[in-house]
């Protein structure tokens, strides 16, 4: 029973993809919408059913394994298409299908009347199906299939409006930059297989802990390579540059990439392989530092963006950085908790930003918005709720609980420390600053454009549901200072070990006070900086145009990579456009041509020369035969 439900979870969106991919052009738009959103909706219901089933069973029994078939059977390598459902996978599947379904529902309204509706929903379904393969795979080989499937579908969807060449370039950039990480991850899998002789996830964990000491070479190498793969997919330094450009896709696609699928894959991978990473403490420390640095850089960049979606993109990088920070200090379930909560509010931020963008006729520029509070009350309220959750407004929002847990772990766990904790708190301040700026610029102040479209009911339902989740979603995990009911970590306990942070309750309360203070003062700063003294648009107050430019360009990583990687490569390619190796083959071809011309000369058509040649030939052959 359970295994069929598990199979359906992956098969439903995949079936939606197949049907829409084959017949999408011939179906009416209504049918496309029903199949596209319905397949993911049914999968979400299926996941809910599995959750109920898990909750009714004792924690030890909360696991379903199912092998579909053996992919290859060669020597020692037996990659299996097998599924594993444990609490971690179920949480991820719930997020992917649940948030994914709401985004699909929203897309019906958002993409109404667009060309290529069938293609859009087919690719969205493929995206969800690939992500489900990724989170439910029991074999790293199979996981890698989902990993690449996610990359493929993100490429297709970012470039959905392919008539504009800019979008195609953004899609290629996303594909190529994540590919660097993917290649590292593939090598990491080879290292694992060479060292352990298996790629089955639970076996890898068991054999790695048995075979390798803490800090052993292969363990460090494999986990570092897997981390590089995760950093590519999750847009962490130094592979983060693709994410802001990925905004070229339609807004629901951005929501899907940022909330439910794609960027969370890296977090999931590290959490899933936590046993391996614990054998490499240095790599874990690197994870934490990379996460913290990404969090701060991306947060600062978000302050200076003009495009509302780019603000959200940098915000995602920053929040994923926070999850990596949590992973790095060993707070596995805190990272997953923040992943879930982030999925709620980030999807909501994108979807309500989508309402604004749609209402202003595809206007992305924050400085052309303003005063939309009265005109688009639904978008305003939902955006404000999601923004509050992102900023971690104390007590009332889900973001507060998850962020607070991470900061506490970063501060107090044995792998963390005051430095990481302080970075986290500063990150919280920056976060609420940019959130406050977006809300103030877009919804307050004087009106600059007139909204032309108001959201229909199809757009409104997902917004309201996600707003509810962004507020109460945090109540599944209450910290010791506030009732102590960590049911989320309890649920994840069979998959992920409990956090290590040990500290007094009073310290925790002080830290929570600090975090709250940081988030409130960020909003106050935003109010002072962007509403009270609203100045010449682009420039940030206090810092001047130079710093604003650096921040707006995301610290110039694009320019740096362009200079260091892209241009040298294109130069080499151009210099070698007449491929040096080709010369050998061109020489061979020329030799053949030369011989051809020489032999052509002998074909005179004169009968008598032929006869003479035969005579000479015969004499030579007979001569050789006789003289030997």
């Amino acid at each position: 029973m359970g295994s069929i439900a598990l199979l359906l979870l992956v098969a439903l969106p995949l079936a939606g993809f197949v049907v829409l991919g084959l017949a999408g052009k011939r179906l009416r738009p209504a049918a496309v919408a029903v199949i596209g959103a319905g397949s993911v909706g049914l999968a979400a219901l299926d996941a809910l059913g599995l959750l109920v089933r898990f909750l009714l069973e004792p924690p030890e029994a909360r696991v379903i394994r199912q092998t579909l078939w053996v992919w290859l059977d060669t020597g020692e390598l037996h990659p299996r298409l097998s599924l594993l459902l444990d609490p971690l996978a179920l949480v991820m599947a719930l997020v992917v299908t649940g948030v994914g379904f709401l985004i699909h529902l929203y897309s019906i309204g958002f993409m109404r009347g667009e060309e290529g509706n069938g293609r859009f929903f087919a690719q969205m379904n493929l995206f969800v199906a690939s992500m489900l393969v990724l989170v439910l795979a029991d074999d790293l080989f199979f996981l890698y299939l989902g990993w690449e499937g996610v990359g493929l579908s993100s490429y297709l969807l970012i470039g959905f409006w392919w008539r504009d060449e800019k979008n195609g370039r953004a899609a290629r950039k996303a594909f190529i930059v994540t590919r660097i990480g993917d290649a590292a991850m593939a090598v990491g899998l080879f290292v694992l297989f060479q060292g352990l002789g298996t790629l089955q996830i639970s076996e890898v964990a068991a054999r790695a802990t048995a075979a390798w000491r803490v800090g052993a070479g292969p363990a460090v190498l494999a986990s570092a390579l897997l981390f590089a793969g995760a950093a590519g997919k999750s847009a962490q330094l130094p592979l983060q540059t693709w994410l802001p450009d990925a905004m070229a896709g339609p807004t629901p696609v951005s929501a899907l990439i940022h909330a439910a699928t794609m960027v969370t894959a890296g977090v999931y991978l590290i959490a899933r392989m936590h046993a391996l990473f614990e054998l490499a403490p240095d790599v874990l420390a690197a994870v934490a530092v990379v996460g913290a640095v990404t969090m701060l850089l991306a947060g600062l960049s978000a302050i200076a963006q003009r495009d509302i979606k780019r603000v959200l993109a940098y915000s995602t990088m920053s929040q994923i950085g926070m999850m990596f920070l949590a992973l790095g200090v060993g707070a596995w379930s805190a990272a997953i908790f923040h992943l879930v909560v982030h999925a709620f509010f980030k999807a909501l931020l994108f979807l309500s930003a989508g309402v604004v963008i749609l209402a202003l006729d595809h206007e992305h520029d924050l400085f052309r918005m303003g005063g939309l509070r009265k005109e688009l009350p639904l978008a305003f309220w939902t955006f404000a709720i999601a923004g509050a959750s992102l900023a971690g407004l104390p007590l009332v929002t889900a973001g507060f609980y998850s962020k607070d847990l991470i900061l506490w772990e970063a501060w107090a766990s044995s792998r963390g420390g005051p430095l990481l904790g302080a970075a986290g708190i500063f990150g919280a301040l920056v976060t609420s600053l940019y959130v406050g700026r977006v809300i103030l610029l877009a919804f307050f102040g004087e009106r600059r454009t007139v909204a032309s479209v108001r959201p229909g009911r199809v757009l409104a339902i997902p917004l309201v549901v996600l707003a509810g989740l962004s507020l109460v979603g945090g109540l599944v995990e209450l910290p010791p200072t506030l009732g102590h009911a960590p049911s989320f970590s309890w649920f994840l306990e069979p998959s992920l070990p409990a956090a290590t942070a040990a500290g007094r309750r009073s310290d925790m309360a002080i830290l929570q006070g600090l975090t709250s203070l940081a988030s409130l003062s960020g909003i106050l700063l935003a109010y002072l900086g962007f509403l009270r003294h609203r100045r010449a648009d682009e420039e940030l107050p206090l810092v001047g145009p130079g710093v604003t430019g650096i921040l707006a360009s995301g610290f110039g990583f694009d320019a740096l990579y362009d200079l260091c990687v892209v241009r040298p490569l294109t130069r080499i390619a151009r210099a070698n456009s007449a491929d040096a190796l080709d010369r050998i083959f061109e020489g061979l071809a020329a030799l053949v041509g030369l011989t051809h011309r020489a032999l052509c000369r002998t074909q005179t058509g004169r009968l008598r020369t032929y006869a003479a040649a035969m005579v000479v030939g015969t004499v030579v052959i007979v001569g050789i035969a006789v003289l030997r």
Partner: protein, 102 residues
């Protein structure tokens, strides 16, 4: 009756063969080239017969019958071709019929 030594007959055959060969190489008239080929064939036939006679065996004469047959076939095809060449090109000069030249 004293037998003619084999060597002498073979020398005559070689001479005939050489005459035919020279004819094929130097004549430009296709008809004379065909005649020269006949001479070469008969030189080979003469060599077969002489070799067979010197060993008191009939094989040489059998081979000569084959050579005759081949020669007959060759002449009939050759003459037909000759007629066609004459009809199409208006000449029987082998050096003019060189359309196969590469």
């Amino acid at each position: 009756m004293t037998a003619i030594p084999l060597e002498h007959v073979l020398l005559v055959a070689a001479g005939l063969f050489g005459l035919g060969l020279v004819g094929v190489l130097v004549r430009r008239n296709l008809l004379f080239m065909l005649v020269s080929v006949e001479v070469m064939l008969n030189a080979a036939g003469l060599a077969f017969v002489a070799a067979g006679a010197s060993r008191w065996q009939a094989d040489g004469q059998v081979m000569f019958l084959f050579v005759l047959t081949v020669a007959a076939a060759e002449v009939s095809v050759g003459l037909a071709l000759l007629l066609q060449v004459r009809r199409r090109l208006g000449t029987v000069d082998a050096d003019v019929a060189r359309r196969l030249g590469g």
